[in-house]
């Protein structure tokens, strides 16, 4: 009998504590202002991410950025952007409570995601993020390193996504 599909090393799934999560919409031409206001150079290409200290930003669309920061800084960030709104029109929407974040880490993280994520994850570089699907749920998929991912999923879709991940974990555990 020849070799079956390779068996898998451990992979772990965990729900992360809340962060200040903001959706920024702004004309690419005004990106410098936004970068200055948020305090890190916002990436200009869809998918790219940028982190500085405990703040991070990812470009999800031609004029859309996802911002992460410590919760305590949320009010300040909102105020800072409000201050420049008059001169630099944009939309900054707090979505801290709209989503939960799930961390998937371990050598088999990528394979685990493939139970419901249609993307070719081999082509997804560390530090990038994409809006995509996990099964029928829209998610933002962040790749922190080769074997570390984060899924940001809307609150009401979270149980479905995490239950599917549990089922997949049990499959991996039994080795089939």
């Amino acid at each position: 009998m020849n070799a079956p599909v390779k068996s898998f090393a451990a992979v772990s799934v965990a729900v992360l504590p809340p962060v200040a999560r903001l959706n920024l919409r702004i004309a690419p031409a005004d990106l410098d202002t936004a970068s200055a206001t948020f305090g890190l150079p916002l990436p200009g290409k869809i998918g790219q991410g940028q982190a500085k200290g405990d703040r991070a930003a990812w470009c999800l669309g031609p004029d859309e950025w996802l911002l992460h920061a410590p919760e305590v800084e949320q009010a300040a960030i909102v105020a800072d952007f409000a201050a420049v709104r008059a001169l630099t029109p944009h939309s900054l929407t707090v979505i801290s409570d709209r989503e939960f974040t799930i961390a998937i880490t371990g050598p088999s993280a990528q394979e685990l995601l493939s139970v419901a994520c249609p993307l070719d994850l081999l082509r997804m570089a560390p530090g990038t993020a994409k809006r995509t699907l996990f099964d029928s749920a829209q998610v933002v998929l962040i790749r922190d390193s080769d074997d570390a991912f984060r899924i940001e999923v809307w609150r009401s879709f979270f149980p479905h996504v995490s239950e599917l991940l549990d089922i997949a974990l049990r499959e991996f555990a039994c080795g089939l």
Partner: protein, 100 residues
């Protein structure tokens, strides 16, 4: 399941991320109230539905969120080219082919 090239993401991605949005280049009249009933019907309902190359709209709804246009062969379902909303229907000879 099709593979679709999003001209905004500059990436070729699974159809699951996209929503079809009907025939392309049917612009909403600037002043609808000046339209005859027939003109308005054409805008609302008449579609070319060709057997062959079709200019159509897609939205990368579970991705970057943008609407864009595509030329696709409705017999083979193969995309010739996709292009950003607002751009004119490309002349296929000149058009850039979709990277695989």
């Amino acid at each position: 399941m099709l593979l679709i090239h999003c001209p905004y993401c500059v990436d070729t991605l699974p159809e699951l991320e996209f929503a079809y949005a009907g025939e392309a280049h049917i612009a909403r009249p600037a002043n609808p109230m000046s339209q005859s009933d027939e003109e308005w019907r054409d805008f609302l309902f008449i579609r070319s539905n060709p057997r062959g190359l079709h200019a159509e709209r897609w939205r990368h709804i579970h991705g970057c969120g943008r609407f864009f246009n595509a030329l696709r062969d409705t017999v083979s379902d193969k995309f010739s080219v996709t292009y950003k909303a607002g751009r004119p229907r490309p002349d296929l000879e000149k058009a850039v082919q979709v990277p695989k």
